[in-house]
Symmetry: C3
Amino acid sequence: MPHRTVGSTIHLSGQLPVGRDVELETAQELARHAALNALAAAARAVGDLDRVRIVQMLVFVASTPDFGQQLNVANAASELFIEVLGENGRHARTAIGVAGLPLNTPVEIQVVCTAV
Amino acid sequence: MPHRTVGSTIHLSGQLPVGRDVELETAQELARHAALNALAAAARAVGDLDRVRIVQMLVFVASTPDFGQQLNVANAASELFIEVLGENGRHARTAIGVAGLPLNTPVEIQVVCTAV
Amino acid sequence: MPHRTVGSTIHLSGQLPVGRDVELETAQELARHAALNALAAAARAVGDLDRVRIVQMLVFVASTPDFGQQLNVANAASELFIEVLGENGRHARTAIGVAGLPLNTPVEIQVVCTAV
């Protein structure tokens, strides 16, 4: 299911863009795309985008062992949340590099948000 | 510790089956096994399996870089939750492929649930 | 941002020590360092270290596919929480091996805690 609510906290399912074997700029674009998908899912869950507050984001980047730029990919998603939601878009964040992702996509984000 | 409760939300520790270097069907069986372990831990935490609601699941699958079927592994665990708990078994989910897991197990799941 | 609070629950951002290509003992030391950083962030978020309760920890260890000792790395962080906070330091935990981490660090932890 796209999200699960407990109290005022909403756990969104992982958001997957498409594509693979990409350059940093493409990965950043995919991260923004995934963040937009998350915002859409959050707005549906809360009923109103203006009441969405992002709490936590886990960013998974399909990475070779020597790719250390996961923060640059994650920043693209973080910045989109803040552009759209302002202060409510700020969040705790963890970014990691993983061996692979479903459908061989290069970026996946998992978001916890809340209604304000 | 097997779980930690905050309000009505219960964070279960990662559930590890055993084995490695497995085929898809075996990975699915191990995912079901891990899901059963999670249900048992949740029932102990809540006191009654009938009051367990699954909120969120993170599925980690030890993967080579070109293995894109993490969703098929995760589905096995998701379906077990829904078989056992019905509507209360539905959840937000994120599946990723990782370089390796503790004890060289091929599948690990992390579950957040709540008491209803 | 270093943390995001929702109700009494505090989601801390991933804590990164520095260094890479390390031995087990060094990884354990880095895990303790990351746990100390998390405690400092939690104390700032809650206002008082004595009121911090750890709920959940995700431990990411940059790993080659055949490294199965992620639990030994994670134990170093878990033990530090319990040394400092006693019963309030106990937590649900998931440890995984990942392809790589931001800044090529070998260990990252993500913590959810609460104020008591």
